[in-house]
């Protein structure tokens, strides 16, 4: 629970940073904070009580189809999410990196890191 609250607080702080800071780098940092918060939330609520680890044995049917799948997740924790959370962390990293790359090129072309200096297209 504490982790969940921390995660949500981080998300809010991050969004606040994205909305109010003018410096591109700070905005990116805000985004990174949001990302971390989300991952914390995932960790916090991803655990489901009363189920075993997703290891295949006789208790778990491997038949295909949604109904069989439903049966299976009654007994074990769904393994797919945990695999995908890892992916999400990687994706967050990638996006942050790309954002930073953009920031560098924006500094090169626009000679500024202030987001207010990039308002030429509007209306």
């Amino acid at each position: 629970m504490i982790i969940l609250i921390h995660g949500l607080m981080l998300i809010i702080i991050g969004i606040w940073a994205m909305l109010t800071r003018k410096n591109l780098i700070r905005i990116i940092i805000g985004f990174a904070i949001v990302d971390t918060g989300i991952n914390l939330v995932l960790v916090a609520i991803g655990y489901i009580k009363g189920k075993t680890a997703p290891i295949i044995n006789d208790a778990v049917s491997t038949a295909q189809g949604a109904a069989a799948g439903m049966q299976a997740v009654d007994k074990v924790v769904d393994p797919v999410p945990s695999a995908l959370v890892l992916t999400a962390i990687v994706i967050g990293l990638a996006v942050t990196a790309l954002m930073l790359a953009y920031a560098i090129r924006m500094h090169k072309t626009g000679r500024s890191l202030n987001i207010d200096d990039f308002e030429e297209q509007k209306w």
Partner: protein
């Protein structure tokens, strides 16, 4: 079954292989790139060809050998196969379009494009929500990076804003997934669907966040500022990809998630979609940048598809028909939008106005026209059918607010798109020819266009089962496009032969009652006037295809059976006439006004058709009309729609402008033939709603007064025109007013008078217009005061105009008097005394403008500049001769026209006993009114009383001394410059002093104000797009929050 994993494998392998082999040679990496793209196309098409499309679950593939949710499931059914085929073909075309760029840029961009397609393919295939997230991010990251392909400051800024927005949306998505997982314990979409909607509010909020994240990615108004920047500044090839592939994949993912959502989400999403559609189109009105305009249009279209997917679920519609509507809209936008972006990249012009360079390149202009018309929703493109079905669903279920928003939004869309088309056709001398046309870019463009047309034809024939006869206008258009290189006269004779043959085969003797009357007007009337176009020496490219298409669609109005056929034909007619008007030299504005009024009319007609009882198959509408009785609402919608086409007072302002600015020969057809399509429609409505209208006299009473006022004000405005075509345009409006007045009587005599006038108007107005066409051709001006004394140079034209004005004014012995006699007697017989009085006044006013017409052009003092003017070319004289003979014939023997009209009308309203023919004498012996008219005897007497004095004069006046035109006595002197005494300019100044106050342009002012206000609102709204990335983030945040609060999601 093709394993969808191959698709993913192909892209992944390509993306990883390309950087390696690039070290060797760029050509190898490009080869692998195109190979991968081609393979993906092949795979999706192969799946499409397979016949094993059964239930959804059957086409699922599970990875890693487990069933869901223990593994990731991919769905590869029919829908996925179709969409993937489109997406991957588009990927190939986009790759081709970008070929040069990719050859130059770093190898990463090739990989990125493959990754982008990987993301899109995965997003379409996956049945796992988290997997969907991963593919979404792959798609997004690839897109972000590709925007950087153009390293301008604006592109950078736009990319960064996009990343911020995308990042926020992904955050919502992830949080939503996390909480939803908490409640369901799985991430498989199908498992979620099977669970049903859990009642827990937490779960609902989670779902809300998930779906809103997708909605945000779909760029809804007003949370879409970032997307517009991207469209504006990204490389055109990338913008095309974003607006087609990205949008397609996201929309499909959105569609996949819909079954998860509780029912109360649907109206919210539908509302959001419709708002996005309407307001994006509204704000786009003021947009001058082509790329940004396309962005607005894209977001609008996406909004509309969201609306279709969510808003129609409450109605009694099958899933497949909803999907069909969405698909129609999507496919059109898919090809047209990518084509437009590519065109933008090809001609490299930022503002929409500067697209006039296209006027120098007919191929690109044609492509541009096709894209614009497809987006506007003209047949035969799928968007037309989608909109028809959509209106049917909405109007049929009484969703009036949605329907109004839809139609208003569509109209706004038409405004900016067609205005743009107007800019493009405008010839501008300063524009240089587009010289550099890279072949790959052109290939993409052409291929996309051909695909769009093929898909359109496939849908038209396979899904909507339209008979081939209904497609004749289109086929004729294409056929004449092919032979467009032939000389004008050859084309003219081919057209005449073709239409005559068609008329002979399908119409002659096969039409009944009013059908045969309108057959003569619509087909016969246009046939004669084709001659008029044949005097041109240069090959007027595109004229005959459109003209023939118009005539075929006019004829098809009589063949159309079902509502869809009727409306399709109506739209073909509108489309071809619009493009013909647009051919005028300065007709851009006029054509825009014309098409906007026509489209509004068409929307009303469509709504009316939906509301009316269903038509029978295989029976033409005009025959059917008596078997169906519709209610008042349907009749009112249809009636107003047709009145717009007629140019009734209040909605007439398109009429003078477009008549004036269209090419002269075509104005003749517009006035004499095209307007009769409106007459036809109005009559059909009156027949179909006869019972309801007779029971409620109020509406026909109002209609009658509308007709009377149209007749009166049309005549009055004609009096004060200096432009000869404008004068005639207002005159046409006035004449159509009489027709409306006659029809509104709902009596036998009234309809006879309306139809009689419709015939007469065809003959005399075509006669005058053809003659005036010759005059304009020879003098090179439309201002009457710049002409004068042309009777000596153009005697035949003078005779035509003379006959014409005698017929218009209703002076006996010509047939025009018959129309006056019919209209007055029918009005008085029905007790509409004051309408008769006003009609009388209007007819008297007609003398003013008719005298002005003939005097200032043909009489008075000749201008020295026009002393070498010749008679009009023979091709213009031929139709005139035909019409003069017809007028003389029916004046002499009115029975040939009055009797058939009466018997046609008696099919609907029985001929009263008191109306009878004895010889040529028409006797009216109603209990309330007696009267008679013997056209033949009048003709004889007139010839007698004319002949005797003439003979007398010839006898006593044998030695008449001919003098020159300038030999006049002016205040006892011969004027120095006699032509300056030509009394022409502002001829009726005294009349203006007395009655000019009646024609202060109040109605024009009103419509101008409407335009002005709409644009002002659009401008004000557009200020929400401040250009600041953080503001856009705030928009997104507020958007999600506001809808959450409004919807009360709990």
């Amino acid at each position: 079954m093709v394993n969808p994993l191959y698709l993913i494998a192909v892209f992944l392998a390509g993306a990883f292989l390309v950087p390696f082999v690039d070290k060797a040679d760029r050509r190898i990496s490009l080869g692998i790139f195109y190979l991968a793209l081609a393979a993906s196309v092949g795979l999706s098409l192969a799946r499409l060809m397979q016949a094993d499309f059964t239930a959804m679950t059957e086409s699922q593939v599970f990875t890693a050998g487990f069933g869901a949710p223990l593994s990731i499931a991919l769905g590869f059914g029919f829908k996925e196969a179709i969409l993937l085929s489109f997406v991957n073909i588009m990927g190939l075309l986009a790759g081709l379009y970008l070929a040069k760029r990719l050859a130059r840029e770093s190898v990463q961009s090739i990989s990125l494009l493959l990754l982008l397609l990987l993301g899109a393919n995965g997003l379409i295939l996956t049945r796992d929500i988290f997997n969907g997230f991963v593919f979404l991010e792959i798609l997004s990251i690839a897109t972000y990076a590709l925007i950087g392909l153009k390293s301008s400051k604006n592109a950078m800024a736009a990319g960064f804003k996009y990343m911020l927005a995308g990042g926020l949306a992904s955050s919502f998505f992830l949080i939503g997934i996390a909480f939803a997982y908490r409640y369901t314990g799985t991430l498989n979409i199908d498992t979620w669907i099977n669970m049903g909607v859990l009642m827990s509010p937490g779960y609902r909020i989670a779902l809300y966040l998930i779906i809103m994240a997708i909605v945000i990615e779909l760029k809804p108004f007003p949370a879409n500022g970032w997307a517009l920047d991207v469209y504006q500044s990204a490389h055109s090839g990338i913008a095309a990809v974003i607006s087609t592939i990205n949008t397609g994949a996201l929309l499909f993912f959105f569609y996949k998630l819909l079954p998860l959502l509780p029912a109360e989400f649907m109206p919210l999403l539908a509302g959001a979609g419709l708002i996005s559609f309407f307001f994006s189109n509204l704000v786009a009105l003021r947009q001058k940048n082509a790329g940004r305009l396309l962005g607005y249009s894209s977001t609008a279209q996406t909004g509309l598809i969201i609306f279709v997917l969510t808003g129609l679920s409450g109605f009694n519609l099958s899933q497949s028909s909803i999907l069909m509507i969405a698909a129609g809209l999507f496919v059109t936008n898919f090809f047209a939008k990518s084509g437009l972006f590519w065109l933008a990249g090809l001609i490299k012009k930022e503002t929409t106005k500067s697209w006039s360079v296209l006027s120098k390149n007919s191929l690109l202009l044609a492509l541009f026209g096709i894209f614009i018309l497809a987006l506007t929703g003209f047949p035969p493109f799928p968007s037309f059918f989608a909109k028809v079905e959509l209106v049917r669903a909405l109007a049929g279920n009484g969703a009036w607010v949605s329907l109004s928003a839809l139609l208003a939004g569509s109209l706004l869309e038409a405004v900016y798109l067609l205005r743009w088309l107007g800019f493009a056709v405008k010839k501008n001398e300063e524009d240089a020819l587009i010289e550099t046309m890279p072949i790959p870019k052109l290939v993409s463009l052409m291929f996309g266009t051909v695909l769009m047309i093929l898909v359109s034809l496939l849908i038209t024939t396979k899904v909507y089962h339209l008979s081939s006869g209904m497609m004749y206008p289109l086929m004729a258009f294409l056929a004449f496009m092919i032979i467009d290189f032939l000389p004008m006269k050859t084309k003219g004779f081919i057209a005449i032969g073709l239409i005559a043959y068609w008329g002979w085969m399908f119409f002659w003797g096969k039409l009944l009652g009013i059908g045969s009357l309108f057959g003569i007007i619509l087909i016969g009337g246009s046939l004669v006037q084709i001659f008029g176009f044949m005097h041109y020496k240069d090959n007027k490219a595109g004229l005959f295809p459109l003209l023939v298409m118009l005539i075929f669609s006019l004829g098809n109005l009589l063949q159309a059976c079902t509502k869809l056929e009727f409306f399709l034909t109506w739209e073909f007619m509108t489309l071809s006439s619009y493009l013909l008007i647009l051919r005028g030299k300065h007709a851009q504005k006029a054509a825009l006004t014309y098409i906007l009024f026509s489209l509004s009319g068409a929307y009303l007609i469509l709504t009316g058709l939906v509301l009316s009882p269903s038509f029978y198959h295989k029976i033409p509408v005009y025959l059917l009309s008596d078997m169906i009785q519709m209610g008042l609402p349907a009749a009112i919608f249809l009636g107003i729609g047709f009145l717009i086409k007629l140019g009734a007072l209040g909605v007439h302002i398109w009429l003078p402008e477009s008549y004036t600015e269209a090419e002269d020969e075509f104005t003749s057809i517009m006035s004499s033939v095209l307007s009769k399509a409106g007459v036809f429609g109005l009559l059909i409505v009156l027949i179909m709603a006869k019972d309801a209208l007779v029971a409620n006299g109020l509406i026909t009473g109002a209609l009658g007064w509308l007709g009377a006022l149209t007749a009166f004000f049309g005549a009055l405005m004609a009096v004060f025109q200096e432009d000869v075509k404008k004068l005639l345009a207002y005159s046409s409006m006035s004449q159509l007013g009489y027709i409306i007045m006659g029809f509104a009587l709902m009596s036998h005599l009234g309809w006879v008078s309306g139809l009689y006038l419709a015939f007469n108007h065809l003959f005399f107005k075509a006669l005058i217009f053809m003659a005036i066409t010759g005059v304009i051709l020879r003098t090179g001006t439309r201002n009457m005061y710049e002409m004068g004394g042309l009777i000596k140079k153009m005697p035949i034209s003078f005779i035509s105009v003379l006959m014409g004005i005698i017929a218009v004014s209703g002076v006996p012995p010509l047939s025009g008097f018959g129309s006056k006699w019919f209209i007055y007697t029918s009005l008085i017989e029905q007790g509409h005394y004051f309408q008769a009085g006003l009609a009388f006044f209007a007819s008297a006013i007609a003398f003013l403008y008719l005298y002005r017409l003939i005097h200032t052009v043909f009489l008075g003092q000749a201008k020295p500049a026009q002393k070498d003017v010749k008679e009009a070319p023979i091709w213009l004289i031929i139709p005139q001769a035909v019409f003069i003979m017809v007028i003389m014939g029916i004046s002499m023997f009115p029975n040939y026209i009055t009797k058939p009209i009466s018997s046609a009308v008696s099919g609907f309203i029985t001929k009263p006993d008191w109306l009878s023919w004895t010889g040529y004498n028409i006797t009216l012996a109603s209990p309330v009114l007696h009267g008679n008219w013997n056209g033949n005897l009048v003709m004889m007497v007139t010839m007698g009383v004319f002949g005797i004095p003439l003979v007398w004069l010839l006898l006593v006046n044998a030695r008449v001394q001919k003098v020159k035109q300038f030999n006049i006595v002016f205040a006892a002197e011969r004027p120095d410059k006699p032509w300056t005494t030509h009394f022409a300019h502002n001829m009726f100044a005294h009349y203006k002093k007395a009655l000019g106050w009646l024609i202060t342009p109040k109605i024009t002012e009103f419509w101008n104000n409407v335009t002005e206000w709409t644009h002002s609102i659009a401008a004000t709204l557009s200020y929400i797009y401040t250009g600041n990335g953080q503001t856009y983030l705030l928009h997104i945040f507020m958007y999600v929050l506001v809808i959450f609060i409004i919807g009360g999601v709990r």
